[in-house]
Amino acid sequence: MDLVQIGSYTFSSRLILGTGKFGNTASMVDAVRASGTELVTVALRRFNREETDHDLFTTLADLDGITLMPNTSGASNAKEAVRTAHISRELSGSPFIKVEIHPNPQHLMPDPIETYEACKILAGEGFLVMPYIPADPVLAKRLEDVGCASVMPLGSAIGSGQGLATAGMIRLIIRESTIPVIVDAGLRSPSEACAAMEMGCTAVLVNSAIAVAQNPPEMAAAFAEAVQAGYRAKAAGIMPKSGSAIATSPLTSFLDTTS
């Protein structure tokens, strides 16, 4: 059976789900179930009774086999991200933390310097650090060196649906990395998730593409199939490209049509 190891955790799904932007909680729960995911992200915010009629933690805990990965969204620097991580770990009981530091709401690009600083601290404290990063091979290697459990380079800007715009850089990261590489952000359709897996990604993280689809649970199931297809294809050994045609039928011994 295909299993993914991250820290001491073993997962049978290579699709990680973000829980944001769904029309309602029921839709999100249906999508989580349909996706077969075992790792989902959540955010930490001030409690507001008027905004929440349910306890998201309990809702997700009631689903079998789900591990939480809190994110540090809202943090604009390493100090805030580390604080968020500490509180999140106490609340969730999970060692996973998605370090996500994007101070500019216009483009939501991750701050590489604050991300590195936060990851160095949190990895030293035993977190399973999963940093959301620009697709920068040098940064990815630095984060591996300080003990991150994976690196999560963006395909394109969060919620933009611009797909694998950073494909070339992701390939470089995969080539140099000995830890899981997980594409996070920008994927729009299952074929793009499949392509990421065919490149050699360990997993993909998808949120908007499922949450904003017309039928989120159906889209979640489609993504799950695509991730599996891409993983299997990579494992099966994809044929090389050729600059010229290579026939699939023999070019000799035709039927002789002359008499």
Partner: protein, 67 residues
């Protein structure tokens, strides 16, 4: 009465209130929340005994949907 800051807003509470009392006031008593008082996490087993004081900065946090 004393004044604390709770989730960024000033609030008057009874002197001698515990952290647990505050959770009841804001409807969080049955929710899974984290409580931070003056940058220190107050663990669940301590919430009934930690007393709040004038000018305490209290944050009550929970998980919400996010990517």
């Amino acid at each position: 009465m004393i004044t604390i800051t709770l989730n960024g807003q000033q609030r008057e509470i009874q002197e001698g209130s515990t952290v647990e009392d505050i959770l009841s006031i804001i409807g969080a008593e049955k929710q899974r929340v984290a409580v931070v008082v003056n940058e220190n996490i107050v663990y669940p087993e301590k919430r009934g005994s930690v007393l709040l004081r004038e000018k305490d900065q209290v944050e009550v946090l929970s998980f919400v949907a996010g990517g």
